[in-house]
């Protein structure tokens, strides 16, 4: 007889096409603006949110700027044209307006978050993680607000911040990502709906992890959230965001802006686990994820970005640090996974301005099926940045023959004292590794997941401790999408 070994061994290709487990949608009664964008829509959003005049002016300026701008086309992405007139720019679940207590959360919304594994009851949650839950355009609840306020920490939805802390918002909004920064940032500035606001006062170590969970639910809507984190001198905060969306055949646009301000000796650790719907294996549907994330680090401050990007049809994202103050530190740890027909063009910019500034970039790109993964990074050392140092390591893992990995580092050094180090590697999951694990009893799927997780280890290690469980979950979701 002939052993069926070669036929029965499933190929890596097959292993990479598993289901998206967050693809369900919830029937929520929703208030949606008609599709299309003009000044009146900007005014509508602003009035729905009962905003002050200065903010409406700011939005209108952004809108005017956006009209003049064009989509950036330098990324290695093939994108079907986006029809900005067919998108609805405002969608909010209709629910009880009072949200002072968690118990007021609409049961349907609560159930939706339960299904996503994010219980919104304070008793049921990890006791040291506060969550801001955002559905489509609005924040539906923020947990542990009171506990945090005792420590002086403000953690609330952006809309509330505009009402309750207008001066803080006005001072910092657009201070790191100006309105005209790029096409998508300008669009976001014009129509942003909600997001999270965090303020850590001087000398305070935030007593718990802060997190925001973004959920797109409605059809044909864009999500434009805006997050602002301000850490005063000598403060410390760790923040995590997670994102999912239902499985739909049309593409949905997500254009967010995140601004971080780390004042002297402050530290902000910002982690993202992005799992928007990636589209199907033929490239139908999926989220277009165009995100501008940037932080400004003042003297002796530290900003650390950690991202695990497994979802979205298109990812265009370069979380960056302006190392403005002397001895400031910037870090970027990234895992980007592209399978099915996903395309990711992601990386970072480290702009060294201050003396003795240090940046570290660790990027792990995984490409499977027909996925395309590009690391694009800029390390810029200005003349003023005496003794700046950068270490960059970009590793690519290819699972299959139809996928691609690309590494595009830009290095601009204007100060001769700079030390810039760049390492890159490309590897594959070897048949011998899979066989070794299987000989030890693991299924091919478990083995693949373990090997891929191992490849990402340095980045996963950077996720906050409280999310160690979550990191394990990432393992499982990787299993879903990779192995």
């Amino acid at each position: 007889m002939t052993a069926p070994m070669s036929e029965s061994t499933r190929t890596i290709e097959e292993l990479t096409s598993a289901d998206y487990e967050y693809g369900f949608s919830t029937d929520l009664e929703t208030d949606i603006a008609p599709p299309g964008l003009d000044e009146s829509v900007v005014r509508l959003i602003s009035s729905k949110k009962d905003e002050p005049e200065w903010l409406l002016e700011w939005r209108l300026k952004a809108y005017a700027a956006w009209r003049e701008m064009e989509e950036p086309d330098w990324a290695k992405l093939e994108i079907a044209p986006i029809d900005y007139e067919s998108i609805s720019y405002w969608a909010a679940p209709k629910q009880k307006p009072v949200l002072d207590s968690m118990d007021d959360v609409d049961p349907d919304i609560r159930e939706m978050f339960d299904k996503l594994g994010i219980p919104l009851h304070e008793q049921k949650m990890l006791s040291n993680v506060a969550v801001d839950a955002i559905v489509d355009s609005v924040s539906v609840t923020t947990t542990f607000k009171a506990t945090l306020l005792e420590a002086g920490v403000i953690f609330c939805s952006f809309s509330e911040a505009v009402k309750d802390y207008p001066d803080l918002v006005r001072e910092h909004l657009g201070s790191v990502v100006p309105v005209r920064d790029n096409f998508f940032a300008a669009l976001n500035s014009a129509v942003f709906s909600d997001g999270s606001f965090c303020y850590i006062p001087k000398g305070v170590r935030c007593p718990m992890e802060l997190s925001t969970y973004f959920r797109i639910n409605s059809m044909n809507t864009g999500q434009f959230e805006r997050t602002l984190i301000v850490a005063e001198d000598d403060s410390h905060v760790s923040y995590l965001e997670g994102c999912t969306a239902p499985q739909r055949d049309e593409n949905q646009l997500h254009a967010a802006v995140v601004e971080l301000v780390a004042k002297d000796r402050a530290e902000i650790k910002y982690s993202t686990v992005q799992n928007w719907y990636p589209g199907d294996e033929n490239g139908v549907g999926g989220i277009y994820n165009f995100v501008t994330k940037r932080g400004r680090a003042h003297t002796d401050a530290k900003i650390s970005w950690t991202q695990v990007e497994t979802g979205s049809a298109i990812t265009w994202k370069y979380p960056s640090v302006i190392l403005q103050g002397d001895r400031s530190i910037g870090e970027f740890y990234s895992v980007a996974l592209s399978c099915r027909r996903q395309q990711a063009d992601t990386g970072t910019k480290m702009i060294h301005i201050g003396k003795d500034t240090t940046s570290t970039i660790i990027s792990k790109g995984i490409s499977a099926a027909h996925g395309q993964n590009t690391y694009r990074g800029l390390v810029k050392i200005l003349r003023s940045a005496e003794n700046a140092r950068n270490y960059t390591q970009c590793d690519s893992l290819l699972l299959g023959k139809e996928c691609g990995a690309h590494t595009i580092p830009y290095i601009e050094v204007k100060n001769p004292t700079a030390q810039v180090e760049h390492e890159a590697s490309t590897s594959t999951v070897g048949e011998d590794q899979l066989y070794y694990c299987r000989q030890r009893g693991m299924t091919e799927e478990d083995a693949m997941s373990m090997i891929v997780n191992g490849f990402c280890r340095e980045v996963f290690n950077e996720l906050p401790m409280e999310f160690a469980v979550e990191a394990q979950l990432v393992g499982i979701s990787l299993e879903g999408s990779v192995g």
């Binding site: 052993a3 069926p4 070669s6 061994t9 011998d432 066989y435 299987r438 009893g441 191992g454």
Partner: protein
């Protein structure tokens, strides 16, 4: 426990194993010797289920047909292979790997999984056996291990997996004398009435430490000679040259390790 009947293996049309017949009984240690390229590793992989070979014949373990099974099912059935070239898995903690392996076979057999704390106890005992320090558990699987550490890690895995049949492929090669003593000590300690081992080696020196019940000599994919451990000594003195001429009638011989 293990029956091998007329096993042949070819790769890319090239015949590597020819009509192998073997019987391994309970609690037996079985030496498989042969020059480089004679097919020893191929034999081990054929038992473990590596992809890419064209295999004919019959192999059963405790009556179960191994050739029909995926590698992980064979592992669950009790087959353990000590690799000649253990594979590196960067970023995967050795302890996590070991526990996942153990629990994978336990799950497949319908047994309860071993929790983290119990596992630590299990692994401590196994570590003592191969004289490894605890930090070993927290390093990535085989990544940056010395040759000797890799082989000791294989024995550690065997100790934890408690297989029914262990096939150790050149676990001695590349070891200095101390490491050899440790590896052999581990193997001897793991002898059990419920376990049999096939010890594959290129040199006989491992068999100075591990006394096999039977020795088979593989040349060009055929068993050309079988005997007890004295055969190994003979080989040490005379090399394989004696057997290279015997090939003509090798296939007629039925050198099974007698009782099963």
């Amino acid at each position: 426990m293990l029956h091998v009947n007329n096993l042949t293996a070819a790769i890319g049309g090239k015949q590597i194993l020819n009509d192998l017949n073997l019987e391994v009984g309970d609690n037996e240690i079985f030496g498989l010797l042969g020059p480089n390229g004679s097919g020893k590793s191929t034999f081990a992989h054929a038992l473990a289920g590596r992809d890419g070979y064209d295999i004919t014949g019959e192999v059963t373990l405790d009556g179960a047909d191994l050739l029909d099974m995926e590698p992980e099912a064979r592992a669950a059935a009790g087959v353990f292979m000590g690799f000649q070239y253990p594979v590196e898995i960067p970023g995967v903690n050795n302890m996590y790997f070991l526990r996942t392996a153990l629990n994978s076979v336990r799950r497949a057999r319908g047994e309860t999984e071993v929790g983290a704390r119990d596992f630590l106890n299990v692994s401590k005992k196994a570590m003592d056996l191969v004289e490894m320090k605890e930090d070993f558990l927290y390093r990535s699987v085989n990544a940056g291990f010395s040759g000797g550490e890799k082989k000791r890690n294989e024995i550690l895995q065997m100790a934890i997996m408690e297989p029914r049949l262990a096939v150790l492929d050149e676990t001695d090669s590349g070891l200095d004398i101390d490491a050899l003593r440790i590896v052999a000590g581990g193997v001897n300690a793991l002898r059990s009435p419920e376990r049999s081992m096939v010890v594959i080696t290129h040199y006989q020196r491992l068999l100075d430490y591990i006394k096999p019940d039977f020795v088979h000599v593989l040349v060009d994919g055929r068993i050309v000679k079988s005997g007890d451990h004295t055969l190994a000594l003979h080989l040490e003195a005379n090399g394989y040259a004696d057997f290279e001429n015997d090939l003509g009638d090798a296939s007629e011989q039925s050198f099974a390790g007698a009782q099963s």
